[in-house]
Amino acid sequence: MFPAQFEYHRPGSIDEALALLGEYGDDAKLLAGGHSLIPSMKLRLLEPKHLIDLGNIASLKGVRVEGDTVAVGALTTHYGVESSPEAKGALPLLCEVAGQIADPQVRNRGTMGGSLANADPAADWPATALALDAEFICKSDAGERKVPASEWFQGLFTTALEEGEILCGLRFGKLPERTAATYLKLQHPASRFAVVGVSAAVTTDSAGKCVQARIGITGVGTHAARAAKTERLLEGRVLDPANIAAAAALADEGFDAGSDMHFSESDRRELCRAYVERALLGVLERANAGQFQP
């Protein structure tokens, strides 16, 4: 409940933050919303000597529509996304996901960038970053680097973010026409993290055939990943309950599902398949109703 001592830095710009990061290196932690970091510090599982609070860097906040893409600053809070008219207009799936994260107080503080940089295996955003093929904008002294979502998540709490780099924002490209999407989550009863979170974005043609399927899954493996086999099986077939069921049956393949005191590996795999199937049925329903992501 009482964190250890640290020195607090509040840079006003990204460059200042990078300089501090360069100076303190491994002894420093970046503070975004702090809703994973601060609890760890309170329990003294983490005792960084320096905390670099990014909260004062205005350029890292906000949702902007730039041409065909939606740019979200890394420090934008979940509620900032949930309540963003820009996001609602351009990519409503983002609002749908944001509104399901933890609870209102956490959504008011927790940030999209913090969540994606932390890469908790049960966090919500990773599934959607994958399903939407987001681009991760990282900055370091060497300049800017863009990482596709498919390369971002590398393991348990491990991302492509390199030492000395700051995740500054996300860019979500325009989805193909006739893409319907949804986020379906089984909330952990105690922690409110995702036991399984499925973000599905499926493009169909006017005949109902699946042209492209992107399904990101969080909570099941050691890190979020795409349900590659399910996607492949769907593509080129009519998006209907039978094909969905067949494809969802493969959803957990390739995931390194573990067991804990709440759910066994078998439970996780079963829930993964069921939630993928239901998410896809949800997508189908939206596609049939003409509710596409703009």
């Binding site: 760890s40 393991g155 348990l156």
Partner: protein
Amino acid sequence: MKLDGEVVLPQGTDETWKRINDPVVLKACIPGCEELERTGEHSFSAVVKVKIGPVGAKFKGNVELTELEYPVSLKLVGAGEGGVAGFAKGGADVKLTEIPEGCKLSYVAEANVGGKIAQLGARLLDGVAKKLADQFFANLAKYEA
């Protein structure tokens, strides 16, 4: 918690055996290992920094190799104290088999943690153990003296 796995190492069983018994190699391959010293013929003391997501702790402990049957099997037993974070102990039965590609190393490990990491990280233990094991063997496979 139990975990098992299998890796194919490019080196043969002899070389693999040597590496597992070599403090220099072990230090280079154990993820986060800051110090590793031989304290007996088959025992070592170690300092390992574990930094995964919500936890960053330095574990001080010992590793011992027992039931050595050159060059096919051995048992690795270790225990470490991580201060406020708690402690970890475990053992692994390691088997080496000569194969055309080099050496197949299979292991069956059992690990136990206690203190705060058990109390607060229950949902992550499986994943952490797997990650550390995977990293260790990946490092071992690509280690070059």
